[in-house]
Each structure stands twice: as C-alpha cells, then as structure tokens.
C-alpha cells in the first residue's frame, strides 16, 4: 500500500484517477483503519486529505459556514459560533464514539461510510447542507441528501472526493437539534435518531422546518409530513403530536439485535417529537 498526503484537492483527485488498483481516501481513519487491521480492505493507495488546506478549517461568511472535509468532530464542538448556530449538527456528530474517536472522526467519513445509523447525517440533511465535490473534471456542488444511496453505498464516483460542506445562511430565530435513542448513555450506535431544523417568525409561528430520521431505514428518511405539521404552527401540542404520528408512519426499520421494527417505529415518533421541542426552545432562546 502506498500512502500519500497531497496538499491540494486537485492533486488528491489526480492520484485517485492515476491509480489502477483500489484507491481510498483517508480523513479521520476511524472506519478504514479498523478495516485495514481486520484485512477487510487492502488498498493499493491511501490518499490522506488532512494536509489539504481547504479540508482543514471551519469558516463563516455571509453565505454561511464552510466545514472542511478533514475537520474532526472535536473541532466542531470547540467552535463556539458553529455550536451556537448549528447545535444539532454539532451534537449529532458529537455522539459518534469516544473522546478519542472524536479527535479523529469527521462528518465526511460518517456520511461516506454510509451507515444507516450515522449520527452525523440527519442534522446535515435537515440543514440543507451541500458538499463541494472535487473530481477529475472540476468541482460540483451536491446536496448531502443525494449522497447516501444505501447501506455502505454513496453516489460519488471512485475518483471524486468531498473537499468541504456548506451550510446555508441562518435566518433569525432558527435552530436545530438531533436526538438518538440508545439503551445506555454513551458509546453506542443509534437504534433511532431524529433531527429537526426549524425557523420561527416574530410571532413564534414556524415558517420553515425539516424533519429527518436516522437508523430506521436503509438511509436517512426525510419526513415531509412532519415538516408540514410544524410549518404554520406555534409548535404546540397538536403540531408535536402530528410530528410524532408522521415520523412513526414514515419509519421503515428492520428488526435486529438493537430493537424490533415495532419498537423503532414507535420510538422514531417519540424521538422526533423531543427533537422538535429542543429545536423550538433553542430557536426561542
């Protein structure tokens, strides 16, 4: 296996294209290192993106935040302004693994590993995040929601890489939240996850919302009926009950060792309701 650490995305993509064998990207490495050690993958080329400047930083301008693809979760949590504006994204990724894993694991890896239970993904989808994708023919913007296509499957080509994510500008009285259900308090994989992103007007009426479930289908599930229940409401009990019902209906979980399908459908509603309550209280604060 050859290891390279290019300093530009163009060089990284050129190396991917020039490799005749199995070329892989390395960001935090918390998935691929495990697979390497277990001999589940044997790449011919490993391209480390952590030395690419455009992948390293969190920046904010008038068009919103840009999060570099190699930014580890711990760096998201240390960014006071990002944590204030997009607490749901920060808390979702912040649930992935231990302190040690947080020091390495990235949103990019969480997205491209494409686990149905990825905690970093629902809030990114709810935010309307887009990925800056670099390939041999240049750069394209791709909605995060269009990237996972199934368990372990993504829509990017083998010679493409994500350089960064863009989060849209934030209107006043907006916030988000991500909550997951696990049978203990830490260090587990989501049985159900739910993200809610919403915006209120001056009177407290919800004017924009997005509700996204995780771990209850092959990929995340965007629940439009739940968003429609929130929009136009004061996020009152009737709206919350409608969110809960819509999410339980929309969930398409399997039964496995972490929970039955019946339990997960019910819990998807409960967790989405709670996420809506938290996002609402943050938007009012």
């Amino acid at each position: 296996m050859q290891y390279i650490a290019p300093t530009t995305s163009a060089a990284a993509v050129a190396a991917l294209a020039a490799c005749n064998g199995d070329a892989r990207l390395l960001a935090g490495g918390t998935d691929i290192l495990v697979r390497l050690q277990a001999d589940l993958v044997e790449p011919d080329l490993l391209v480390d993106i952590k030395h690419i400047v455009a992948c390293q930083h969190i920046t904010e301008d008038a068009s919103g935040f840009i999060i570099g693809a190699a930014v580890p979760s711990a760096q998201l949590g240390e960014h006071a302004r990002l944590s204030q504006v997009w607490p749901g994204i920060v808390e979702g990724m912040g649930l992935v693994g231990s302190t040690q894993v947080q020091g390495r694991a990235t949103l990019t890896g969480n997205l491209c590993n494409a686990s149905p239970a990825a905690d970093g993904v629902p809030a990114m989808v709810a935010a309307g995040a887009t990925a800056c994708v670099v390939g041999p023919n240049g750069t394209r913007q791709l909605a995060v929601e269009d990237i996972p296509t199934g368990p372990g499957q993504i829509s990017l080509a083998n010679n493409e890489m994500i350089e960064s994510f863009s989060l849209p500008p934030r209107p006043p009285r907006s916030s988000d939240a991500y909550i997951r259900f696990i049978p203990r308090t830490e260090m587990d994989i989501a049985v159900v996850g739910a993200a809610v992103n919403l915006t209120l007007d001056e009177t407290g009426t919800c004017i924009a919302a997005c509700v996204v479930l995780g771990a209850v289908g092959p990929t995340f599930i965007t629940v439009n009926a739940a968003a429609e229940a929130l929009i136009g409401s004061q996020v009152d009990e009737a709206a919350l009950q409608a969110v809960q019902n819509a999410c339980s209906t929309a969930a398409t979980p399997i039964s496995d060792k972490r929970g039955t399908a019946e339990f997960r459908k019910h819990t998807a509603g409960v967790i989405a309701r709670r996420a809506a309550i938290v996002a609402h209280s943050r938007a009012l604060a």
Partner: protein, 160 residues
Amino acid sequence: MSHSHVSTTINGQAVQYACPTDASLLEVLRDQLGMTGTKEGCGSGDCGACSVSLDGRLVCSCLVLGVEAQGRTVDTIEGMADKNKLHTLQTKFLEHAALQCGICTPGVLVAARSLLEKNPDPTEQEVRYWLAGNLCRCTGYDKIIRAVLEAAKAMREEQA
C-alpha cells in the same frame, strides 16, 4: 508492503523511523521504538488502552497510521513523569488505588491529562463522559474518577 520514512516529535524529542505504510502508530511505538507503555487492548478503537495525544488531541494510536505522525507531535505515557517525579495524576492513582491489573492505566492517565489540560476543574459527570472510551475491567471506574477529581483539585492548588 512499501515503507515510509517518518520524522516526528515524541514526548518533546525528535524521532525518525521507517515503518510499513499500513503499520499503526501503536505498532510503531511498541514494536519499533520499544515504547511499550502504550498498551494494545482491542486494536479497533473501542477500549482506549492505546490513547496518546497527537498534536494535542487525544486519539487511539491503533486508529492512526505510523506514517500520519510525519511532522506532528505525539505525547505518550512515557513523557508523563518528570524523570523520577511522578505526575500528580499518577500520584493520585496510587493513593486512590485507581488501578489493579494496570493494562488500561496508561491510556486512562493520558486521557485524563488531556481532559485537565482543556478543563482544569471538571465535574464528575464531565470526567465520566471524557473517559467513557477508556475501558477498565478491574476497578469498576469509581476509584479512577475519584483519583482524577483529586488530581484536578491538587493541580489547581499547585497553580494557585
């Protein structure tokens, strides 16, 4: 398997080594550099026994490639004591009997030092969450938590 030549800094000392590109930093530390204070538990990032600091950030050295240390700063358990003078965390671990078999102890100490560098006055809950990735099958954790809280207190008093 190709080898890579790496120049890095470990516990403040410039170090050079050549390692297979698929070798973990943990394998390099233990097998090539003879720094066996860092322990291997699971080898898959679950147990925290191999914790080290990489550019000041706590990581599992089993989930870092040896080649990734190029140009960076690694801090291991071997750099914790000042020659024969133990770090306050080490002293408090002894006083509180916060170890039994000792396999998890270097990782716990490195993780706890990383916490106290960022947060000199953590709550018990903050200590428990920070150390959630360091598994210990002997102590039941309570003595570890007490020792870290006592060390934090002692270190604050030393600073005052």
